[in-house]
């Protein structure tokens, strides 16, 4: 029975992924707005999954995704401008992720060993603000408040961006899926449920917390990198904007925190709501979007994933829907 479920899961997951892979091949990427829409959704999926790993699975609510996102973008821009990397260079993207993860580890040692709960969240919020000021005052290296201008003539098509963002979102998804099936995942959940109990069972609490924090930062850094390549102008106000920290939180909570599929659903739904509201009611779109979030939180406080019950889909995707909580 379990073998059949696993096989069905794999097939269903492969079909959805293949549909996304095939989509830009069937439409004109330069004409279709959906290609751009999905590109943004993939970025949000990866950001939300990164936050979900730290907050949903490890129980450490962080508001520092914008710090790692911005840092990733700046690493890409600086290495490109210095001639060390190239346009849409995988090395630059990996460096961006690694740089963000390294910062998360350094900060994580200080914050996670001393702070918990709201205090940790506020500490990470401060990190983003500190980085914004550091990069604004960074002189010629960071371009100061002007930021870094990249050669926009490098742009050829939206297609590569779409596929890279899809790959990042897919990798994030796969990483967390595998992680949560491993002993590390079990340790993270144990820490979330009861830190002292986890420690008394021999789990190195700080090590696993830092691991989750760094992994979430790695994906945020990668997202910052691809988005930096897309905008061609890395600017401290735009890339260290709180939006990059708050939206992934909102998406994860809206979709279902601590579930694998929740952040995906939340990212698609919220990006879609924002886009349609922007399109049809530009004057009052923040009111509509805000109202939508309030209604979902009122009637589905556990997120869309909490609609409940068993369906063919939950049988097809047991690991996506089944929470470890």
């Amino acid at each position: 029975m379990r073998k059949r479920i696993t096989r069905n899961s794999t097939i269903a997951f492969a079909i959805v992924t293949l549909a996304f892979v095939a989509f830009p091949l069937l439409v004109d990427t330069e004409e279709s707005y959906l290609v751009y829409f999905f590109f943004m959704c993939f970025i949000y999926v990866a950001l939300a999954q990164g936050w979900n790993l730290v907050a949903g699975y490890a129980g450490q609510a962080s508001f520092g995704q914008h710090a790692f996102f911005g840092l990733g973008a700046y690493i890409t821009a600086i290495t490109w401008k210095a001639g060390w990397t190239d346009f849409l260079d995988p090395v630059a993207m990996m460096l961006s992720g690694a740089g963000a993860a390294l910062l998360a580890m350094i900060i994580g040692v200080a914050l996670l060993s001393k702070l918990r709960g709201d205090y940790f969240a506020l500490g990470t919020l401060g990190l983003g603000e500190i980085l914004r000021v550091v990069f604004t005052q960074g002189g010629t290296l960071t371009g100061g408040p002007v930021g870094l201008l990249l050669p926009s003539s490098s742009y050829q098509s939206l297609g590569p961006y779409y596929f890279i963002a899809l790959a990042i979102a897919f990798s994030t998804f796969l990483f967390i899926w595998l992680l949560m099936r491993s002993r590390v995942g079990l340790a993270l959940v144990a820490i979330r449920e009861d830190e002292q109990a986890a420690a008394s069972n021999g789990i190195h609490v700080l090590k696993f917390k830092i691991l989750a924090f760094a992994a979430g930062a790695f994906f945020a850094g990668m997202c910052g990198s691809i988005y930096g390549y897309f905008l061609f102008h890395i600017h401290p106000l735009g890339f260290f904007s709180l939006n990059w920290a708050l939206l992934p939180v909102l998406m994860t909570v809206l979709g279902g925190i601590g579930t694998l599929f929740g952040p995906v659903l939340g990212a698609f739904v919220l990006t879609g709501v924002f886009e349609l509201a922007n399109l049809y009611i530009p004057e009052i779109h923040p009111i509509f979007s805000g109202l939508f979030v309030i209604l979902v939180m009122l009637f589905l406080p556990q997120g869309i994933m909490s609609l409940g019950g068993k369906s063919i889909v939950t049988r097809l995707f047991p690991f996506f829907f089944g929470s470890s909580k």
Binding site: Y33, I257, L307, G308
Partner: protein, 413 residues
């Protein structure tokens, strides 16, 4: 935390939602697709800061664009040779939320969903204009813009945009030019420079310092100010102790208002105070009332300009908002250039319209406008003084008869 169990039909619910969004977006895009023979209007898109920190200035920009569109439509529209008829203009506005990423998204939507023929620019280089230009560059749509410092715009070597704005060095020379005309016994001795620590603030500060040397001045106080700072008393007390007699300030409206209020509270007055960005909007004068008197402001335009339609436009703006503007004329002129460019090109092809804008000279509310080979046309930045709720033009000297008034101490006002 409570256990969250996966839901019945959750996947299909989510999938259906995604499909709704896709159909919504695709439907909107399809509805806008017109065949050449059916072309009924010229669609002009624009990304404006309708929400966010720049929403106040976005209102003026939107009014200028909408007024220019209403006026051209009243005249029957724009003659487009390719279609053999006059076509009315429809303005499609997208909110860029005063955010660079959202500005790029807004322009993507305008091009791909609203299917606009070309675009009018947003506000401010980093927030709306540069992201808009880059996105237009990707899809080869003409982005006809203003309100962007020239050097960062030139750095991109845009091929699908044009820029109509002032030269930063000229704008920064205005106070020195005005000081040069003051009587010998009123000469400025100890100026101070208070510049917002941002993209634009630093750019202005650098040029002010360079020009100070050229004109023979030395700032006795030169400090950056943080955006949204609520307490300027340290800078004010320092300036007071140094005997500062003139202040050049660059900052947002709210910050400039706070600065002036705290100057009064500290009984610190300077005979010359000139602001950029934060002192030109009507809200500045309305918030400070009589305390705004004597303060100078930058601007793009004046209703006192001797160009056709200037006075009428200023009066129409006043009738609508009960305040005056020093920006709407320049933005209206931007539209006038585009309308004439389309007519001269005889087509709605972005490349040809841009080329027509580069090749021709245009008669506008800002006088004659001619673009250079890089796609830049320069206008003169003005200097005005608040007097009884109106911006009285002080500079350019040749376009005004108004004589600047130097501020007495607060108690004598």
């Amino acid at each position: 935390m409570k256990r969250v169990v996966g839901g019945k039909n959750v996947f299909w619910f989510g999938f259906a939602l995604i499909l709704v969004f896709c159909f919504g977006l695709a439907g909107a895009a399809h509805a806008k697709t017109e065949k050449k023979a059916d072309k009924k209007e010229i669609l002009i898109g624009t990304n404006l800061p309708l929400t966010g920190i720049l929403s106040m200035v976005g209102i003026e920009q939107r009014w200028a664009y909408e007024t220019a569109v209403a006026d051209i439509n009243k005249a029957g529209g724009i003659m487009v040779k390719e279609y053999g008829k006059k076509l009315p203009v429809k303005l499609v506005v997208a909110d860029d939320e005063s955010d660079p990423g959202k500005a790029a998204a807004a322009v993507e939507r305008l091009i791909k969903v609203s299917k606009v023929d070309m675009l009018l620019g947003g506000f401010a280089a980093p927030f709306g204009v540069i992201p808009g230009c880059i996105t237009s560059e990707k899809y080869k749509k003409y982005y006809h813009t203003s309100i962007c410092l020239i050097p960062p715009w030139l750095e991109h070597k845009f091929q699908w945009s044009t820029l109509f704005f002032f030269d930063l060095e000229q704008a920064c020379s205005v106070p020195y030019e005005i000081w040069g005309k003051l009587p010998a016994n009123e000469k400025i001795q100890k100026p101070a420079l208070i510049m917002e620590d941002t993209f634009d603030g630093r750019a202005f500060a650098g040029i002010f310092r360079k020009l100070a040397e050229k004109y023979g001045y030395k700032f006795v106080l030169d400090e950056p100010s943080a955006v949204g700072a609520k307490d300027y008393s340290a800078q004010i007390i320092k300036a007071k102790s140094l005997g500062v007699d003139a202040i050049l300030i660059f900052g947002a409206d709210a910050d400039c208002i706070t600065f002036v209020r705290q100057m009064k509270e500290n009984d610190f007055s300077v005979k010359y105070m000139h602001g950029w960005k934060g002192t030109w909007a009507g809200e500045f004068s309305q918030a400070l009332g009589k305390d705004a008197q004597y303060i100078l402001l930058d601007g793009f335009w004046s209703m006192d300009f001797p160009f056709p339609g200037s006075k009428e436009l200023g009066e129409r703006y006043y009738a609508k908002f009960k305040k005056y503007s020093v920006s709407v004329g320049a933005l209206y002129a931007l539209c006038q250039i585009l309308w004439q460019g389309i007519e001269k090109a005889g087509t709605l092809d972005s490349a040809k319209v841009r080329q027509a804008v580069l090749d021709n000279e245009f008669q506008t509310m800002m006088g004659k406008v001619k673009y250079d080979k890089n796609g830049v046309a320069i206008f003169v930045s003005t200097g005005s003084q608040w007097w009884d709720g109106k911006q009285m033009t002080v500079y350019p000297f040749e376009l005004t008869n108004y004589k600047i008034k130097l501020a007495p101490p607060w108690k004598e006002r």
